[in-house]
């Protein structure tokens, strides 16, 4: 029998919680809510009580730690309207706090049937189906001996269960990461454990919520960022619900025609785009074009600027020929400049959520997320990004986020969670030549859409940016004439020293350029202009690495590779990389199937090429990242 199918759930209505619990708390079972003091346990418990009663699940609230009056005050202050629920008869408060009128003395043994009978009477009278106890820690204070404590708590939970009550029990923890509760007995008998945390992280507080255990049910694991506002607790789950319209690909212009042509006509609606690049690579300008194009189409756009004051941002846009005033005036574009340093990340998330709910924009720009990153810890930033992505997905909005990175990081380095969040990643970059600044734009990733993988030229001009395909020969010239200039220390250290590389390429210019890059890296390069020539070389030599073009006349790279792999001995096992302009997923699969270990895209940066060869030769990578698309 499938046990998992038996868990019936009650939605809590707490924003985000039902998503990470896959539907809510277990009906007729017990939930433990634990955390240090000040983590918001009572707020969560009250919110669940208020929401359940509003949904028609009559709920008993057992006030132990605070008087019922104080709890009502707390709840009503957070807009839960406990007073209304009590009046409507859907919520019943019971005072289980320690009497203050006289002392309480313990003499001998006892059980908890007093409270149980009280609850039973209320259930009989009102038909209650849920009970919230705040808190177990206060209930068992002074603390009985461990054995008795365990037995008392078990009696209580067992009684709730026999009365078919869904129970939420609050308990205190001594620390954020440690024993679950100070009493140390509660979690064993509860079907679900929720941990709330409030960690001081650098100079900021970071609230999170974790579903630590959920018996017989799947749930999202790990800590999720959360926040407490004037409307209670909100959790920001990573995986928000899939929206049905996600399946239909609708495109819109990025605001940059050249870019649209690189990505199959435009950006995909409801996607998150990250634009990364070094300072001065044109990110803000691209963000401005994106926002302006949206406003021009009559969409509602919110532009969050975190880098400079609003007046300066608008003035810069106007100076480059992208005036925004008209759209700001007619309300299609909102430009909000904030300083993340002055605002906690939680507050920022809340303000973003409020903004989304109130002005219902279809496009959102955040320029830049790096300024947020720099004003928080790594963990805090990660939680913010996860929360932000959840927020955007929940509302099904399109967003463009800019990120400032250093130099080559733009193409190679990505925090894994950022890659997951982004549906598309665009890398802006520039190289300084003797007399010129060469700007480039590259599509690193584009979920659900074909796209050009090679970098395009980018120019800043009046009216914004211009994108155009590169002139292939010019690019090769650039590398061929002075490859060392682009790779700095790594090339100088001869990472390929002592290696023999067989390079098969029918196009002479390309072959010479690639050979120059390899030679500069210290390798001995044996060149072959065709598959035939390559086979001839292999009869007399055993190179360390094979680099092979795919599209060649007579015999292509796949056939050559298959032929080599079918040979016995060492020659048949030469590590090989396909170096090709054919970059579709099918091409890659075909290359792997024919026997290549690595699939490299043309044109290739010399340092990526060198690194791939180092990898193939089995040499220790020199602190670089592994090339993509590697397979054994």
């Amino acid at each position: 029998m499938n046990e998992a199918a038996k868990v019936r759930k009650l939605p809590t209505g707490v924003p985000g919680l039902d998503i990470i619990t896959h539907g809510g708390i277990p009906e007729g079972r017990s939930v433990l809510v634990t955390g240090r003091s000040g983590t918001g346990k009572t707020i969560l418990a009250l919110q669940i009580a208020a929401n359940l009663s509003r949904q028609g699940v009559k709920t008993i609230l057992l006030a132990v730690e605070e008087s019922p009056e104080d709890l009502i005050l707390t709840g009503d202050g957070l807009g839960m309207d406990l007073t209304g629920a009590i009046k409507a008869g859907s919520l019943r408060l019971s005072d289980a706090s320690r009497p203050m009128e006289g002392p309480m003395v313990v003499s001998g043994e006892y059980d908890i049937s007093g409270l149980i009978h009280r609850v039973r009477a209320i259930v009989k009278q009102t038909g209650a189906r849920a009970v919230v106890l705040d808190s177990a820690t206060a209930l068992f204070s002074p603390r009985p001996p461990q054995e008795l404590l365990r037995s008392l708590f078990f009696q209580l939970i067992h009684a709730f269960r026999t009365m078919e009550l869904t129970s939420v029990v609050v308990a205190e923890a001594a620390e954020d990461y440690g024993q679950l509760t100070t009493l140390g007995v509660e979690d064993f008998v509860c079907d679900m454990v929720i941990i709330q945390r409030n960690v001081v992280d650098g100079e900021r507080r970071r609230r999170s919520l974790e579903v630590n255990k959920y018996r017989r049910s799947a749930h999202h694991k790990g800590e999720f960022p959360c926040t407490i506002t004037s409307r209670g607790l909100t959790i920001f789950p990573l995986d928000a619900k899939e929206r049905p319209e996600d399946f239909e690909v609708r495109r819109y212009s990025s605001g940059l025609h050249g870019l649209d042509s690189m990505i199959g006509g435009g950006l995909v609606r409801d996607s998150i785009v990250i634009v990364r690049g070094p300072t001065g690579s044109g990110k803000t300008m691209l963000a401005g074009l994106y926002a302006r194009a949206g406003a021009q189409r009559g969409e509602r756009v919110v532009y969050y600027g975190f880098e400079e004051p609003r007046a300066i941002l608008l003035r810069n846009f106007a100076q480059i020929g992208m005036p925004m005033a008209e759209f700001v005036k007619n309300g299609t574009l909102q430009v909000l400049c904030r300083y993340p340093e002055a605002m906690g990340l939680e507050d920022l998330l809340v303000s973003l959520r409020t903004g989304l709910e109130e002005s219902q924009p279809s496009l959102i720009v955040l320029d830049s997320i790096s300024s947020i990153e720099h004003s928080s810890s790594e963990k805090g930033f990660r939680q913010f990004m996860i929360g932000l992505a959840a927020l955007l997905r929940e509302h099904g909005r399109s967003a463009l986020l800019t990120q400032t990175v250093m130099g080559t990081e733009a193409t190679t380095h990505t925090a894994p969670y950022l890659s997951t969040i982004a549906d598309a990643i665009l890398a802006l970059d520039y190289k300084v030549d003797a007399e010129d600044l060469q700007r480039s734009l590259r599509v690193l990733k584009m979920r659900g859409s074909a796209h050009v993988t090679k970098p395009y030229h980018l120019a800043i001009e009046q009216g914004g940016l211009r994108v155009e395909p590169p002139a292939i020969t010019r690019r090769f010239d650039e590398w061929g004439t002075s490859p060392r200039k682009h790779w700095g220390a790594r090339a100088a250290s001869s990472p390929l020293g002592g290696l023999v590389v067989l390079l098969v390429e029918d196009f002479t210019d390309a072959r010479e350029t690639t050979a120059a890059a390899l030679t500069a890296g210290g390798a001995e390069v044996v060149e072959a202009g065709s598959a035939q020539e390559a086979m001839a070389v292999l009869e007399t030599r055993t190179p360390d690495v094979l680099l092979c073009d795919i599209g060649m006349p007579d015999e292509d790279g796949y056939d050559l590779m298959r032929r080599i792999r079918s040979q016995p001995g060492k020659g048949g096992q030469i590590p090989a990389a396909a170096l090709t302009a054919w970059t579709e997923p099918e091409d890659r699969e075909k290359a792997f199937a024919s026997g290549f270990q690595i699939h490299l895209h043309k044109p290739i940066q010399p340092d990526v090429l060198v690194e791939a060869v180092v990898h193939l030769a089995g040499r220790e990578s020199q602190g670089g990242t592994a090339p993509a698309d590697r397979r054994r």
Partner: protein, 106 residues
């Protein structure tokens, strides 16, 4: 209720008013009922007003008296006190009750 005569001498002392909450099928409740008899005997039985209530029959009373644990002896007079447990340490309880009386009469 009270007469002026009481203030003039130590006798007669004010009555002790107590409610013992028990529940059926609870061994601790049964022990408490035995122990309370011994306790009353040690006090002046004529001055003790004891009410024994079954929490399963009177949950409202338990709610009003803020009863969580069973057995619980609620001493209303001379001083409001909650004594939780089967009253095994009768001597201690007795001492407690007597100290209340002295406290109140002084």
């Amino acid at each position: 209720m009270s007469t002026g005569a009481e203030a003039n001498g130590p006798e007669p002392r004010r009555p002790v008013e107590m409610v013992l909450y028990v529940s059926p099928g609870s061994p601790a409740s049964a022990r408490a009922q035995q122990n309370i008899q011994g306790l009353i005997a040690s006090l002046d039985p004529s001055r003790v007003d004891l009410d024994i209530r079954d929490v399963s029959e009177d949950p409202e009373g338990a709610e009003a008296d803020r009863i969580l644990f069973i057995p619980t002896l609620v001493v209303r007079r001379p001083l409001l006190t909650w004594i939780v447990g089967d009253l095994t340490n009768a001597d201690e309880v007795l001492r407690l009750l007597r100290s209340m009386e002295t406290e109140e009469t002084t």
